[in-house]
């Protein structure tokens, strides 16, 4: 248990006002209370505009706030357009998955950080997409809201798709993250609860721990590092 206690946990997909019902500062307070070291406030709307969150609250101690956007698109050219538009504006670019074309477009674009809820329509990723995700460093999201919001048949379908995603991600060594996809502070869960749900999704305990701590941490480091130009190219001096 020692390693869990000493880890920093991040939740990289949390939605706030004006898209959903909680203000950023409320979400931050609640996330801090749940035991996180940082959250990413992700804009999600049909226009795909990033609204900067001006937080009037003093940032809590040992807590980091990141900004992100979850892009919803219905075809590939729009997806790429929105990704290009959001570049350099946000810390983390997330693509709202589920549709097979969009899943493919997201994992093949190295500028995307996270493919969110790829299994939300009950269709798992295949070996080609998992390999592409590993090659391009696009993290595959295991959203716990699939488990806590659905009941019965739809949950079974989504869960079995998620299990296959986990199996393939392990095989091809694609990064995995667990996010809450929270729409209000009632959707937030503590890190260990998220790990428990991740273990139900077919991860080992260690993988679930990394999916909440080191993998999100490395995504953030990668994006906050100004010297980095692209994968493998970095300004050294």
């Amino acid at each position: 248990m020692g390693i869990i206690k000493s880890s920093n946990f991040y939740d990289l997909n949390v939605h706030t006002l004006p898209d959903y019902a909680d203000s950023p500062s409320r979400m931050i307070l609640e996330a801090k209370y749940m035991g996180y070291s940082g959250i990413c406030l992700t804009s999600i709307n049909t226009a795909n505009t990033f609204h900067g969150t001006d937080i009037t609250m003093p940032t809590p101690r040992d807590f980091e706030i990141y900004t992100g956007i979850e892009i919803q698109a219905d075809n590939l050219s729009k997806l790429n357009k929105y990704i290009n538009r959001s570049m350099n504006k946000v810390d983390i670019i997330t693509v709202s998955g589920g549709d097979e074309d969009i899943n493919r477009g997201a994992v093949e674009n190295g500028r995307v950080d996270i493919l969110a809820h790829p299994a939300s329509r009950g269709k798992p990723l295949n070996h080609v997409l998992s390999k592409a995700a590993a090659d391009n460093g696009v993290a595959i999201d295991f959203n716990i809201d699939a488990l806590i919001r659905h009941r019965g048949g739809s949950r079974v379908r989504i869960l079995s798709a998620i299990r296959q995603n986990a199996r393939l991600a392990r095989k091809f060594d694609a990064p995995m993250v667990i996010t809450s996809n929270a729409r209000s502070h009632y959707d937030l869960r503590g890190p260990r609860e998220m790990m428990a749900l991740g273990m139900l999704m077919g991860m080992t305990q260690e993988e679930a721990l990394h999916a909440l701590s080191t993998v999100p941490g490395s995504i953030i480091n990668r994006n906050r590092n100004n010297n980095r130009i692209m994968d493998g190219v970095e300004v050294v001096q």
Partner: protein
């Protein structure tokens, strides 16, 4: 009948929990909801192996008993509890201990001095707390207040749409969001 000797008993773990909710939760409803969630998530066979029991529940804090090797599964069950009779609810596990006394002393009675836990006792909706405040585009009535955290009830159509999308009754805001900080809510 003779009781089982201690060496033959199942060994248990005790989870200290704290519950956040939109309204008051009766103990019986909480028990039913947790057992229902266990049955939907793990099935009857799985939940019989977990041996979940709610030992005490007072003022939104309680202790849950489960089998020693089923703590992770129990955590998963507690995470899937989302609402009771239309009221949103969230369960946070404060900690796990091997005895009831340990769980109570370590997690329920103590308060972290460095970071005081927000008191979960909710203020009554007395008359003074009913006032219109502005949070950007949203205005409404204060329903609950708890340190810096405020629950806001709003009824204009645009707000209702947002609340519907989030599946909650109230907007969650903080005192930092209110423009006029002089207001004594």
């Amino acid at each position: 009948m003779k009781i089982l000797p201690p060496t033959l008993r199942e060994s248990n773990r005790y989870l200290a929990i704290s519950v956040t909710s939109e309204g008051d939760i009766p103990r019986r409803d909480l028990v039913n909801e947790i057992l229902f969630c266990a049955a939907t998530l793990h099935g009857d066979a799985g939940s019989s192996e977990m041996g979940i029991r709610l030992l005490s529940f007072e003022e939104n804090k309680g202790i849950i008993q489960c089998r020693m090797d089923r703590v992770w599964e129990t955590r998963a069950v507690l995470a899937t509890v989302t609402s009771i009779k239309g009221m949103r609810i969230r369960i946070k596990v404060l900690g796990v201990s091997g005895t009831v006394r340990g769980a109570t002393e370590k997690y329920l009675l103590t308060q972290d001095i460095n970071e005081p836990e927000p008191e979960r006792k909710r203020t009554q909706t007395i008359k003074e707390s009913r006032m219109i405040i502005d949070v950007g585009t949203i205005s409404g009535e204060v329903v609950n207040r708890n340190n810096n955290e405020i629950d806001l009830l709003s009824e204009d159509p645009h707000s209702l749409e947002i609340l519907n999308r989030s599946n909650t009754r109230y907007f969650g805001i903080t005192v930092f969001d209110i423009k006029d900080k002089e207001i004594d809510v």
